[in-house]
Assembly symmetry: C2
Homo-oligomer: 204 residues x 2
């Protein structure tokens, strides 16, 4: 029997650079996990490829999948659906491969309810100081608006407590290495290895 | 304030190759943790260096340290004490560096009682089949003795459930990489990172 793969969920506050880090992870050849392509009802943009950037579906098709329980998670933004098809994730996990999702915080929390065994990684800005500088650096904002934005940022950062790991996105290659180390080491968690040895002992 | 380092404990059944793996870890320059040298009352052998292989002490000195509570763990084998001095471990952890211990299973369980926050890594043989082949390969043993040894081996392997990670020692360089990945990723456990951000948020 093939051992089921790991479900890995990368998320974090908006603007932290999730997409950039995810792309850098899959540019290398040395990853041993599969990226789960999201599904959307928004129109395909110039240069986007079906099944690479997104699975592009009509609103009717998407709603049909929701109705059939075939979305692992989904949400609606600006009038379009975005979500993770369940089938690909399940088939890949069952084939023994790990699956990597890069999704918004809200979707990540939905997956936590359905798949508590998944590994949740929160991508976080290097420091609050740097975050404030970035916000202030934009220029024209009044102190009141800056304070409001900082408050939102702090709230977002506090969501990290719902995750297993928090990876600082100071430099993309460093963040990539940290995420790869986490995925590697999660395979050696004793609960996983123990199952394998228990089978060996039974079969003796 | 410096963040306290991690205490990393490598252990496993006798004969699994803990010493070999530990030496290979510290031969490379890229480890960012300190090896805690054990203390013993046995005589220094040709070529052994004080403070490198062991701290060599008299029985009286060792018992004095036990009495003062200055041993993190200790045990007596064949009339000699072996143990881990507490002071070096504490000083190094407080300076923000990680400390690496390679000790017997019994000692590891004592440390688990005292330091539940430590990271416990169990080194394990690749498979029970291979273990049996190794035991049978020794030749002259009767089936009864082989079965008895297998029983002991299985009991030892089942101790892995008291650990956080189980690393298979199939090839030393692979085992070394797995252990380094584990140590790296443990630094991103959310409980640790969260503390740092909570301080930042307080200081805002």
């Amino acid at each position: 029997m093939t051992e089921r793969g790991l479900l890995i969920v990368l998320s974090g506050p908006s603007g932290v650079g999730k997409g950039t880090v995810r792309k850098a992870i899959f540019e290398g050849d040395d990853h041993q996990f599969e990226y789960s392509v999201s599904m959307t009802t928004r129109k395909k943009r110039e240069g986007e490829v079906e099944g690479v950037d997104y699975f592009f579906r009509t609103r009717e098709e998407f709603e049909e999948l929701i109705k059939k329980g075939e979305m692992l998670e989904y949400a609606e933004y600006v009038g379009n659906y975005y979500g993770t098809p369940l089938r690909y994730v399940e088939d890949t996990l069952n084939s023994g491969k790990d699956v990597f999702l890069e999704i918004e915080v809200q979707g990540a929390m939905h997956i936590k309810e359905k798949c508590p065994d998944a590994v949740f990684i929160f991508l976080t800005p290097p420091s609050l100081e740097e975050l404030r500088q970035r916000i202030e650096g934009r220029g024209t904002d009044e102190p009141k608006i800056i304070d409001e934005r900082m408050k939102v940022a702090v709230e977002e950062i506090q969501m990290m407590k719902n995750y297993d790991y928090a990876v600082i996105n100071d430099e993309v290659p460093l963040a990539v290495k940290r995420i790869k180390d986490i995925i590697s080491s999660e395979h050696y968690r004793v609960e996983r290895v123990m199952k394998r040895y228990e089978k060996m002992i039974e079969e003796m």
